[in-house]
């Protein structure tokens, strides 16, 4: 079954204050501005998300919120701890619907990308996902079953094709 998936790494976040929690780091102004521009490009590309899954960490929650304008009318958002840890089969089982989006963190987004494209999670470091980057995958949601269709980098510019 051919499926599509958007992998999203959270936007640029502020540094944690001394003694502050890493989990509670919000997006920086710059991160918010850049990711909003990415969302506009996704919108122009006709992107319609029907399931928006995100990690519970604040920077992922805020990034997911910026993606909400792309959510289909009957689309839903869902918070999951599966995106705040190394990718598992349980996470692959969440690839449902026409176009789900996963908002998470490095190094796990890179591991997930490597796993879906090559079947090998350990190749994560060779498939890095930048802050605020969106990777569109197509294929079967199983290890080695997908390929990269497009990458929307946070820095702007035209979408790239391929990994």
């Amino acid at each position: 079954v051919k499926q599509s998936l958007l992998l999203v790494r959270h936007g640029i976040a502020e540094d944690a204050p001394d003694g502050g929690s890493d989990e509670a780091r919000p997006l920086s102004k710059e991160g918010r501005r850049r990711f909003t521009a990415t969302v506009r490009r996704l919108h122009r590309a006709g992107t319609r998300i029907d399931r928006l899954l995100h990690s519970p960490l604040l920077r992922a929650v805020e990034t997911a919120e910026l993606l909400v304008p792309l959510l289909a009318e009957d689309g839903e958002t869902l918070v999951t701890p599966l995106l705040a840890t190394a990718p598992t089969q349980a996470l692959l089982a969440e690839v449902q619907g026409d176009l789900p989006a996963f908002v998470g963190h490095q190094p796990w987004m890179g591991q997930l990308l490597a796993w879906l494209v090559t079947g090998r999670r350990v190749l994560g470091p060779t498939f890095p996902v930048e802050k605020g980057e969106v990777v569109r995958l197509e294929g079967e949601a199983r290890p080695g079953g997908m390929r990269v269709r497009r990458r929307f980098s946070a820095g702007g510019g035209r979408p790239r094709r391929g990994p």
Partner: protein, 237 residues
């Protein structure tokens, strides 16, 4: 500068209600869980956030069927209907327990705990939008007071407005009374809906008439409450 409004108070109540709902000995546990989730959902609206609202809606809807059966069973329905209601409640409770064990729930609590407090000035502006929506829903009911769906929508809007005003420490007295009347109409409507799914309901015609009567009385009371208190509702203290 007006103090910001953190979610902590109702987040703590949500966390406290989860083990009580899970144990199931006190029906108030499920009720408190739904109320806390509803209040936090409004807090997110006042924050201008869409994310996490679906998760709270999911939690409320998982607890809803248990609460519906608890309310009907508490109101002493006809004895012949009780075994069916209890069986259905057991099924609903099983589904709720499965939901409470899902990793989505601790993730939701964790995410809510990381959100910054509400900016009160922005929240007050957003509260005005909730008022506008409640007024629109009330106008919709006045066009056709017999439409149970419109009444249900008004109940939801009034609940959100009340919770918003409570977050912002504004007067809610009139809203509370209106919400109570709308709640009574809803209780009767839910009982009628469940009775509609009961195969042996033929012998309960008299009870059905009683419920229909309760629904009509509660609806009239709610409409009167709305008309009497419209001005108060429209003007927050």
């Amino acid at each position: 500068m007006a103090p910001a409004v953190p979610a902590a108070r109702w987040l703590e109540r949500l966390e406290e209600s989860i083990p009580v709902a899970r144990r199931g000995r006190d029906p108030e546990g499920v009720h408190r869980l739904r109320v806390a989730a509803g209040r936090l959902e409004v807090w997110l609206r006042l924050h201008g956030l869409h994310v996490l609202r679906d998760d709270l809606g999911w939690l409320r809807s998982c607890a809803g069927p248990v609460r519906d059966h608890d309310v009907i069973l508490h109101a002493r329905p006809p004895a012949s209907w009780v075994p069916w209601l209890k069986r259905r409640r057991t099924e609903a409770r099983r589904a709720l327990l499965a939901a409470l064990d899902e990793p989505r729930l601790p993730a939701l609590v964790r995410a809510l705990g990381l959100l910054p407090p509400l900016d009160r000035a922005q929240a007050e502006e957003r509260s005005e939008r909730l008022l506008a929506k409640a007024l629109a829903a009330a106008a919709h009911v006045e066009e056709d007071p017999h439409d149970a769906g419109r009444l249900h929508e008004l109940r939801r809007r009034v609940r959100r407005l009340r919770y918003a005003r409570e977050w912002l420490e504004q007067e809610v007295g009139s809203l509370e009374r209106l919400q109570e009347a709308l709640g009574q109409a809803n209780d009767a409507a839910v009982a009628l809906r469940l009775l509609g799914g009961y195969r042996d309901a033929e012998g309960l015609a008299e009870y059905r008439s009683l419920l229909e009567g309760r629904f009509c009385v509660a609806r009239e009371r709610a409409l009167r409450a709305w008309q009497e208190q419209r001005a108060l509702v429209s003007a927050p203290a």
